[in-house]
Symmetry: C2
Subunit: 449 residues, 2 copies
Amino acid sequence: MIQADVVIIGGSATGLVAGLTVKSNFPDKEVVLIRKEEKVMIPCGIPYIFGTVGTSDNNILPDEGLKNLGVKIVVAEVTTVDPLNKTCTTNIGEVYSYDKLIFGTGSVPIIPDWLRGAQLGHVYTIPKGKPYLDQLQHKLADAKKVAVIGAGFIGVEISDELCKIGKDVTLVEIQPHVLGQTFDDEFAVEAENLLRNRGVKIITGIGVEELIGHIEVSQIRLSDGTDLDVDAVILAMGYRPANELAQSIGLELNQYGFIKADQYRRTSVKDIFAAGDCAEKVDFATGKLSRIMLASTACTEGRIAGLNLYGLDTFSTFKGTVGIYFTFIGDTGFGAAGLTEKQAGLEGFNIVAATFKGIDRHPGKISDAHTQSVKLIVSRKSGVILGGAAIGGKSTGELVNVIGLAIQNHMTINDLLVTQIGTHPMLTASPAGYPLIKSAEIAARKMQE
Amino acid sequence: MIQADVVIIGGSATGLVAGLTVKSNFPDKEVVLIRKEEKVMIPCGIPYIFGTVGTSDNNILPDEGLKNLGVKIVVAEVTTVDPLNKTCTTNIGEVYSYDKLIFGTGSVPIIPDWLRGAQLGHVYTIPKGKPYLDQLQHKLADAKKVAVIGAGFIGVEISDELCKIGKDVTLVEIQPHVLGQTFDDEFAVEAENLLRNRGVKIITGIGVEELIGHIEVSQIRLSDGTDLDVDAVILAMGYRPANELAQSIGLELNQYGFIKADQYRRTSVKDIFAAGDCAEKVDFATGKLSRIMLASTACTEGRIAGLNLYGLDTFSTFKGTVGIYFTFIGDTGFGAAGLTEKQAGLEGFNIVAATFKGIDRHPGKISDAHTQSVKLIVSRKSGVILGGAAIGGKSTGELVNVIGLAIQNHMTINDLLVTQIGTHPMLTASPAGYPLIKSAEIAARKMQE
């Protein structure tokens, strides 16, 4: 038996940040991080190994931070946990005692039961393990026609990257638009136009019925009856929490299979915490169970778990998921935070939505200027900002982080109208035409209608 | 007599946003904007007309927004105001009656009384008027050696631009470092290194004693006794509020010459408002009078004046100046919000400061990755964020706007530690190594020391 104070299961975003947080704040504790992967992929970078980054070897989450602090990294799989005796056993037969245990087991790609042919050769998913991804990259080398099923962020980014390296890519999405969980239609259409211009074939509003082939996939059958010839298929149909271990040891799961976890990220079993993709989340605005999985949110949760491990701290609670997502297509950034207009409407919010389209430099003649659109979704009566989205250049990400912070601070449109922002010709939109504030002005007037 | 409801004096950032705000919110009012300039310069773009943007014609603040709403633009100078009869008279003899009057008269360059030789030929300042700037650009064409006196943002940006077009530029700053009002030394030194690498000669810690020459300047004498040969001198020694008119009609000014104005931007005289560079400001953190002039803050103030013109609105108040500044040197963005470590110390705050240096893409192998440093200045006991600064790539501006929003929301380090941010390989730092949050982690640990 190996003595530890804190055992963390999982080495991706959650495990990394939890490990850093625990060891930084409780340096006397023996912290062991047990993960399956020899080398861990930077999760958000995975789609980019196929083109932009070139190889998974350029996409490794560094271990230095953990090692420098003295976190012990063990490459193994935890096969069982004994919560009564507070021990973990690994597949190589080691037993670790723990005082506190953190589940950061993450998520795995969904392969729907109903999808016939999913077991055929040349049908792939995008998991986070390096060996699989390396093999996939190798096997795709010979494929010409690739179908990507599902146009969430992973599907869109993989499609764009494969197109970039010369594949004939068809992206199939059953919803009316790509990225439909994150963007309202008019923003999603801009993404579609860019993807099409870059050579990605897009089929929306039509699902996949079946994958067809002998041993290896050769066609996909769509729900409208047409068949597409393919050399390979990538299923990008979402992820589910990787919770077999959690379930086997009796941690309570919610209806979507996430480990139940409170605002301190405590599970139903004493001294066991869960954070990241495997852990239950509620939506910041609605209070409903959320299924949003984001590495950035996982980092926040991992930090919160770590801070609350040895004594709860009311300052350090998880206040619910604000989905803050970005992607980048060609030279155009897309970002969203919180609810879309459509989601807010479906939830029953009485809202106003306002969009302003400007330019992200001033004067607009500066050479790398890019149009910048900002949309705000606002609770009509209170003016509280429920969501926002932006399309623009490379500052789109941090701009949407401004919106994300506004949401998390329960800021209202009135607050935004008196907020000071900084501006600079080479870095931002003009102060008088700053799209975030201009859209707030429009929203303010709509609220009075 | 020409009847108006609202007269705005000044057509730069304040006047533009005030005009847009008033006419959008009170469309039935007759709004007249009186400005001296036929064409108005985008204020932040002025340094860039010399190099990057090429000509002032590429740096014009558009009138379309005002015109489309129905704001009447008059090009003239208001020579006097009669607050009793509520009229303005212009230099072309027109008299406008008003119900509400907004001063947005801006600021003018400071030429210190003590500076001998300032009246010599080829000694210039950087005002906001297009004719002067066009002439300056024309006259500088033949100059080889240019001295820029004063290394605030304008001095730094002008120096870099003139260097870019082949001038032999010496930047002289009496303080120990360039940009010393905005950045702590270690950040300022990075700016100096970049400027030097780009060819700007920098002299710091030494002032200018005298400008020497017959008719035209030919040398500058420094406070250490050395003389520098020059073909032209640009004085970038700060700006003072342009308040001759305000003073002449009896508006109360504060000790620094700014028009006294409250949180609604009301002056000491009924129905007269003031906003932007000409109007009194207090510092957000200290409550002391502030002398910070920023176009972005002027826009906020212009909006606030407009919103409060016809009935005060407690939601729409100016909460004090948070200086949020950016600049860009070569491929490196610099940004600051709120107090520097040095300022906070001088003010008597008990603070901790924390800096984290990371990279603004993930993985760092992405081709346009840039190092990204974030520094936070935090009130030790409360954890309230008093200031922050960043150096990085082109997303530095919006990143510092995130910090600016945190300051304006009185966020604490604990709040930041549980804040969700969005990340993307091509747009931001990694979620586990996001410098803003990492510096917050360091600050949190320092607070416990």
